[in-house]
Symmetry: D2
Subunit: 459 residues, 4 copies
């Protein structure tokens, strides 16, 4: 029996293959080994280690040479995974080059390998997420463009209000996603940074060559050299979590809106269908919003995980007790869930099946009441806002009570017809003509898009 606790059963549902790869055991080991290999090279460049030793070490820094379960068992004793990894790596190197084995992990501490390894994984994850953000942005832009003038009911408090357009809805998400792209670039600039400080962050074990090794190591790994080691200052790491938390919030709203539009009674837009997707074991006709459900699950799970990362920042002195350990599974989980939610969002938006005809049907459900504002504003210009408001409120109440169309009630009201001609009323009660600045706002959002290829996130 395979008694390893695992999330294999749900992972393909909740996250992407890319994220699973980056944050697999293999991915984690390889990132730490990349640190160890680069360290040896950097120390060779600084003259602390022979080039031959650096090569000998580098040759063994391949995750597939290591036994995950043995490392895990040893980590349970040692308290972290770098200690047994270094021990195992040293043995592997020693088997071929005893001299080189002396210099494995030279001058570094476990946290250097784990933190910098994590940074390398996060850089890969952010690259993947940035690419997906760009793709989602494109899909939203296309949706906004195509449906800039497609009216549907605006809904506040889950009650119909004046109309908006599907394009305007899309543009709102587009604008938010564009902000997330900017945030990602800002955060990337801070997290793509070497952690290397030795036992307590002074680089003391390397004597006078500490800074030279650090600078060369940063270069080897294509990471920035920080002003000083940051092992006990976790804001860089926690910030990745908060940025992704904001992103997942936006995606959660997207999923909520889509799932509400998909309701049997609303039926204005649908997730794309696919064979075997969204079926129910007992209700053969259903078309479940599976993508939205998974995004919403992420929107429930990620905020508390962000809180964990923030709470874990309180780490004692030069290495904390519990706080650091709390990060290990939490940040990968956030990345995985955010990556998965983003992938589902792309699928939902790219394949969204909008039904403008049904939107038009729904716009008439209230028999004109959602256009009451239009009438009230037009009347207000003539008889004052409060009076107009009262008058329309009364007419609306009557329309509801007598199950008549607002138009008919208003046309029967001499106070109204004294100021508004029937044609005016008809025009005011046409939802397509009461979408205000929707088209112009869509254009503004499209114009504000960051060009796809500006690469600022990769600078």
């Amino acid at each position: 029996m395979d008694a390893r606790r695992s999330q294999r059963l749900f992972d393909p549902l909740f996250t992407t293959e890319t994220m699973r790869g980056i944050f697999s055991d293999h991915g984690r080991l390889q990132a730490m080994l990349d640190f160890e290999a680069a360290l040896a090279r950097a120390e060779a460049r600084a003259g602390l280690v022979s080039t031959a030793s650096a090569v000998a070490i580098g040759t063994q820094c391949r995750a597939e040479l290591f036994d995950v379960d043995a490392l895990a068992a040893a980590a349970a004793q040692a308290g972290n995974s770098a200690i047994p990894l270094v021990r195992q790596l040293t043995l592997l190197v020693a088997a071929r080059d005893a001299e080189a084995a002396r210099y494995v992990h030279w001058g570094a501490t476990s946290q250097d390998a784990m933190d910098t390894g994590l940074v390398l994984q996060l850089c890969s994850a952010l690259t993947a997420i940035d690419a997906d953000l760009t793709r989602l942005s494109s899909a939203l832009a296309a949706l906004a463009r195509v449906h800039a003038q497609t009216p549907l009911a605006g809904r506040t408090w889950l009650q119909q209000g004046p109309p908006v357009t599907l394009g305007l809805k899309a543009a709102g998400f587009l604008s938010a996603i564009e902000r997330h792209r900017i945030r990602l670039a800002e955060v990337r600039g801070r997290i793509a940074t070497l952690q290397f400080g030795g036992a307590v962050g002074t680089l003391a074990a390397l004597g006078e060559r500490g800074m030279d090794v650090a600078a060369a190591l940063a270069e080897e790994l294509q990471l920035a050299l920080p002003d000083l080691p940051w092992h006990a200052q976790r804001d860089r790491v926690a910030e990745v979590a908060t940025m992704l938390g904001l992103l997942v919030g936006t995606l959660g709203k997207l999923a909520r809106d889509v799932s509400l539009l998909m309701q049997t009674e609303v039926a204005e837009a649908f997730e794309p269908s696919a064979p075997g997707r969204g079926g129910s074991s007992t209700m053969p006709h259903k078309r479940n919003p599976v993508g939205s459900a998974i995004i919403l699950a992420a929107a429930v799970r990620v905020p508390p995980l962000v809180a964990t990362m923030l709470a874990a920042m309180v780490q004692e002195h030069e290495r904390g007790l519990g706080g650091w350990h709390a990060e290990w599974d939490t940040l990968p989980e956030i990345c995985a869930l955010a990556g998965g939610a983003l992938a589902h969002a792309i699928a939902v938006v790219e394949g969204l099946q909008a039904d403008p005809a049904q939107m038009a049907v729904n716009l008439d459900i209230t028999h004109g009441l959602i256009l009451a504002e239009a009438v009230a504003m037009a009347l207000g210009e003539k008889i004052g806002k409060m009076k107009a408001h009262e008058l329309v409120e009364e007419a609306s109440a009557r329309a509801v009570r007598e199950r008549r169309h607002l138009r008919d009630v208003l046309l029967a009201d001499s106070n109204v017809v004294a100021h508004l001609a029937p044609a005016d009323l008809e025009r005011l009660l046409d939802p397509r003509r009461y979408t205000g600045q929707a088209e112009r706002l869509v254009a503004r959002a499209l114009a504000a898009r960051k060009p796809e290829g500006d690469g600022s996130a990769d600078a």
Copy 2:
């Protein structure tokens, strides 16, 4: 390359083998299959299915017959793991008994299998946790008994105050653990309950036999039959999370206290040492509080996960969108972390190495100041609390300023010696004599322990 995201690398550190087994993919599948097998038997008892069919179905309900990765891939499309499991099970049964295959999952819905499967897993987990609570309670009771009179500095705000005893500290934890045992029994009584309702909770697909099948099914699984299906009412499930959250909070305090006592500068008590345990790759002399760190990590991670379970309770109508999905990995994670923290706590308490001599040394660090209260109270009986308080405050300030022992300062103060003889002062300043009701309180806590074998949790 194994590109499955996984926590294998850290799991042996954070949780127990028992929890890993219960919440493995295998464990999850088997629990659902146990439901399916019992359902077939219950329907046979109700006369809906032939006994032969029930046997044929039961024979295939073994997790090892299923391919986890194939199920996971299908679940990513279907939106849950029960749909492909049932499909696969039906094929397996059909290969041997086409008639029986008709009755696989008869009248049930995916959530019935997943929720009741979860209940079975939770029952196993609670049994394991209850046993460990009993063991921790015993260890704490032993500690409380042995050290009922061993004085050490009481510490408030991380500043030394009047003395307590190590036994009193242990008794405080013992008392909390006893309350957790009671809570566990209460919660178990509510969660050990069948979920079986069909598509929307009406059991409609089973016609008139719905309740009979439900009752037989509950009996088959040794679960309680609820008044009505609870698929959309998640309080039973969330309550397991809150109960474990409370437990982890207590364990977190235990770990914090132990790690503070282990500080190099305090050195009053230590986690047990073990080969390869708590070492550091660069500091060969250190004895790191690995167990405490892991418990503290759990105390950081579990509270937000509990918040997830509570937030996820808001599930729409007869089956929610996102909320239910958010539970799937979260509750097992909480169980795993709680189980791991508890196991580490047992190891820490059972092997705790207390150093009463060092406690005595530390009790003298303030040169008597921590006994100032004793003097103030004794003086207060004679000259009034406020006046005594001021007088002792002044003497304490002078003792600090002049780096003298409080006793010497007090002996030189005529206002004091007018009311307290030197021998009285000596006695008042002896920490062993100012532990108040500690011993009696320990006795009370020991007397209040629930007998180990009363089995109320298993009732």
Copy 3:
């Protein structure tokens, strides 16, 4: 300008007058003063203080004699509110009885007053919540009874499924509320407990009389005497939070369901209307689900606050640093939000305006598809589940594609009519006849209700 930060502007929206009173500054002060007065009486009973002194102290223990802002300013220096309160109380007593003033707060520490004061507030809050739970339970029971047979669409994933009844929905909530009543009684039994331990929990300052005073004090305050002081073991306090968190989760689901039913496009049930309630400044016709919104806000806010209480349990040694302080505003906030959500839920359920006619209209939206299961099950008994499932799935797809009623498609299918007569089909497709065990399940839930007056919560 009133520069006090405050929540006055929103409090009447989010919570009840009762909760505002209990957790007002006045309420908090009075609870601590009740502790001080009872302490003096208990010490008089134990012979430590004269009866006259106890009376003199008790006379001044009235919150209106204290200046909240002066206390707050002093608390900002002292680090808690009990220190300046005791100082001020001592001055008040001293002004009339210098002898009595010596015995104010005798042998107690700040936390004794603050924790026991909190317990007294919590007991009041739990009494109020228990009464409201009983009231909500009655309202739900009435709703369940009246609408036990009122069919409406069951909805899973926000898609219509087979029908349920409104009574069954109500019974699900009823059952959950009944469990919350039981939980409240269990929790109350643990929290209604004296905290009294002196500086570090040993009662040392009271010499031999510590336990006697504690016992008398518990009696005076009608609280249980615990086995030992629990100042640093916060599970009793945190448990109030978790219990209320579970309750708010249930209420959040109730509000979500109601607000979904109130949607313009669904319109099956409504919050009661009231003058000025749920209006919109621009949309005069709307009837906003204000009560549901506030409950849902609580369901968003409370889970993280529960996490705060759990995280705060990690308090160092005999009095923590930060953890305790984090509780002070958090638990009252949870009580206030839970109390407010409960009050809104009562208003929503007691005044719920259900529209069975509209429910019937909506049941026909899918042209029979939601009854597909009924047909599939009936057919399955004759031709096997999988075959029946496929056949009905195909018919359903055709019904959608050709916009025909499922009945008509099925009647045209020779494979169907070979096994089901037209009258059978008509019956199978009648939603009122496919509510399964709904009525019986409602009856079970009603029968399981705890009698209102059994008082177990007050035991």
Copy 4:
């Protein structure tokens, strides 16, 4: 009796007067009224309203003219505070100028007033926090400069390791605070943005003039004009929370470190003392870390509140149900706690009383063991790392066992003295000589500071 729930009793402890002012009821009302006044002016500029009307409206937009409790009571019915505010404002204006009263709130919706009002409050809060960050940065820079070479024990896992310097510790915080200053400027650039969209975000009620009014309004309020209204896209608002969450995490670590250094047994640094500060009602000698406790309380409370803001982002369609309401008290709470924690941190750092002599004493507690690494590295260069490690590990174990100084054990070991002369050993075991690159790293952090007056946060 004042039965308003309030936090007056604790607010001066947890937050600053500035924050209390900004987020008082008065502050909230005034910010909304500033929006209303600016809206009238903007509409006058756009020719929709006469200048006289705009003046008449502006004259009444003073918070002191409004009755908070009456507004609160009305808000409890209306569901938000803007509806009664606008109603009240209209009455006030009408009393003097009936014509002007028609144009109060013209074309706007409640959320426009509430969101833009919130933005104005947040801008004030961020300005205050930015100023305090600059001040804290200065204090940390001074500390780093003065103590760049002051050695104290590095501590990992709360165990002593090789030495660091107090300046290096300060520089780590300085570097983090500098990153927070940059983050604040980035976030400010996004949140200082007008929200104005009318009922559903289309500005429909203003006809063709919508964008002109919006542009003029943004100018009047000195806010940026967004590409489109963001009422339902909450990332801008939530981001303020995440940024402050990161800041509080850093401050929490600062407080944890200071409180650990203040422990009676460590006594290396202290919060500044002040009359009445940090006293205990029963322990007259204590000097409690009150500032640190309050910061730590914020570090416990803020992360879950950030989670609330992230979870609340899932707001339905054009205005959500519960999510928006959940923000109202939560974001002010975060600002208040962050502002308070920051103020306490300034006080702690500016007044920090370091005791280098005690640091030196503590550096010798382990009898040289914390320098074992230095010896191991030096030996390693000669006999290989692993062999050196083993040899020093053995010597360390013996030093512990025999309670001897590591130096003496090493000097007695022929394997050691063969490679290291006594003078070398003496030098290696001098903590002042094993602080590695500490001084240089401090210089780097100081050099990387953002100039105080560059104003980028205010751009």
